[in-house]
């Protein structure tokens, strides 16, 4: 079973969010990268872009498929992982670490409480995977 860190929160679209003060770091889960296979391209928004919870903020392309990325939380993009332009495969090898995608300055920090817990997300992927 894919790894689901307990200190993160999740969306049903397989993104994770990590609270860092008034910001949140965002990426896709180990389950998501496994389903996608080899990631070859990640299209991220520019710094300054406003994103809305559960609306798309970018796209991830694997060899086989293209998949939308959904913002777990609303706010403004204050940082993007430019390393992914050169090494998109980091999303596969380190989805919760160096494979992060964007940092959002939260418009409404309370939204964070509405995200799925690790336990709930694990249940979702267990049901979807098999």
């Amino acid at each position: 079973m894919a790894n689901v860190p307990a200190d993160l929160r999740y969306t049903k679209e397989h993104e994770w969010a990590k609270l860092e003060g008034d910001k949140a770091r965002v990426g896709i889960t180990a389950f998501a990268q496994e389903q996608l296979g080899d990631v070859v391209f990640v299209e991220l928004p520019k710094v300054g872009t406003k994103v809305t919870a559960m609306k798309t903020f970018g796209v991830v392309e694997s060899v086989k498929a293209v998949s939308d990325l959904f913002a777990p939380l609303s706010g403004e993009v204050v940082e993007t992982n430019t390393e992914l332009t050169k090494k998109p495969e980091t999303v596969n090898s380190d989805p919760y670490g160096n494979g992060w995608m964007i940092v959002i300055k939260l418009a409404n920090p309370k939204e964070f409480d509405g995200l799925m817990s690790a336990a709930d997300y694990e249940k979702l992927t267990a049901a979807a995977g098999h």
Partner: protein
């Protein structure tokens, strides 16, 4: 996710793939391994070492009897009369209007005995087509009884040679021999869909698991890996080999698909001949080209191809090329734009991404075309 696995067909090697941890996906009505580890890694394994593919989903029909050659000649576009015993030919089935029913390989097994290997997703359609009244020949559908393993890559010849009962190095490209591999009776065919040297081994379904394990064991020192359909697709795309349902179908004709070389009107009457000849006389309006993207942007089947903002074509296949580490694709464009070097755009989610018509195959073929 919806559970469609119960209605999907399985190859005799299905359990082997599941045990190997393959990711299984539906493909043309079959539950098939798309990858075991990583498409890119599997792709590179075939280009540099050797890979083993289960392609038992492919269909096999045999036709025999005094009318066999005439039946094959009437149905296929290539000239089957030129086939020697032990020789293989790439060919097409066409509709009277010139559209493509399927592409296939044709084997001359004996004087009045041929085998056609057809695409998995087309087995039922093709079977109905070739056995329709008046076609002649005595047809048998041996698809279920026949498993098919492809051994492809620069180390394929050495591997099969060690396990075969005969000198397979003497089997030329697009030829075959009858023999055994690791004790299993096989039709040993020097063919493939990767652009590498290698073999396709037709084996009775009940022997396929034993043969699979024998090849995996004997190939350990060669770095053999099982290869899924994902890498099969990127490998064939780098060679610009057409995939039925993506690049060719009933709405495309052999000439625009660049398959005019397997249409032989001089052999006499065959299904689609008049229509294809009329198209040849009129000139093709669009052509299937290979293209390279300027940036890392993946063109996918169905995306529009543009020139100066005007729609001029459509992408039929596209992916990331693990060999070139660039995004490549195939698509139909207006014939005037088919020249190598022509600059086009691909409309990817509303943004025009630059592409250029490329020389193909994208990667040199290493098939043994002596």
């Amino acid at each position: 996710m919806t559970d469609t696995s119960t209605s999907l067909k399985r190859t005799p090697l299905h359990a082997v793939h599941v045990a190997a941890g393959a990711k299984m996906v539906p493909f043309g009505g079959w539950d098939m391994p798309v990858q075991y580890t990583s498409i890119i890694e599997e792709h590179r394994c075939v280009r540099s070492n050797v890979g083993l593919f289960d392609i038992s989903h492919m269909g096999e029909f045999e036709v025999r009897g005094p009318g066999a050659l005439a039946a094959v000649q009437g149905l296929t576009t290539n000239d089957a009369s030129t086939l020697a015993l032990g020789q293989v030919q790439y060919s097409l089935l066409c509709y009277p209007h010139g559209g493509i029913v399927d592409d296939l390989t044709l084997y001359r097994l004996a004087d009045d005995h041929y085998m056609l290997t057809v695409n998995a997703s087309n087995i039922d359609k093709d079977w109905a087509w070739v056995t329709e009244g008046g076609r002649g020949g005595n047809w048998t559908n041996v698809s279920e009884a026949t498993a098919l393993l492809a051994v492809q890559g620069p180390k394929a010849e050495g591997l099969v040679q060690r396990l075969a009962d005969q000198d397979v190095t003497r089997v030329p490209y697009y030829h075959f021999a009858h023999g055994t591999v690791a004790g299993s009776p096989c039709l040993i065919s020097r063919t493939g869909y990767t652009g590498e040297d290698g073999f396709e081994l037709y084996v009775p379904a009940e022997r396929s698991t034993a043969l699979w394990h024998a090849l995996m064991d004997a190939g350990k020192g060669d770095g053999i890996q099982p290869i899924g359909l994902g890498a099969r697709d990127t490998l064939r795309l780098e060679m610009k080999f057409a995939l039925y349902g993506n690049d060719i179908d009933d709405a495309s004709n052999p000439l625009e698909a660049g398959l005019g070389w397997v249409v032989k009107p001089a052999k006499g009457e065959f299904m689609g001949r008049a229509a294809i000849e009329a198209m040849r006389a009129a000139g093709v309006k669009r052509k299937l080209v290979g293209f390279e993207m300027a940036e890392r942007a993946v063109a996918r089947h169905g995306y529009r191809m543009l020139r100066d903002g005007q729609a001029e074509g459509v992408v039929t296949s596209g992916s990331f090329s693990p060999s070139l580490e660039r995004c490549i694709g195939m698509g139909y464009v207006r014939a005037e734009l088919a020249t190598v070097g022509t600059e086009l755009d691909v409309d990817i989610r509303g943004t025009a991404h630059p592409a250029r018509v490329a020389k193909t195959p994208f990667v040199p073929s290493h098939a043994k075309k002596t």
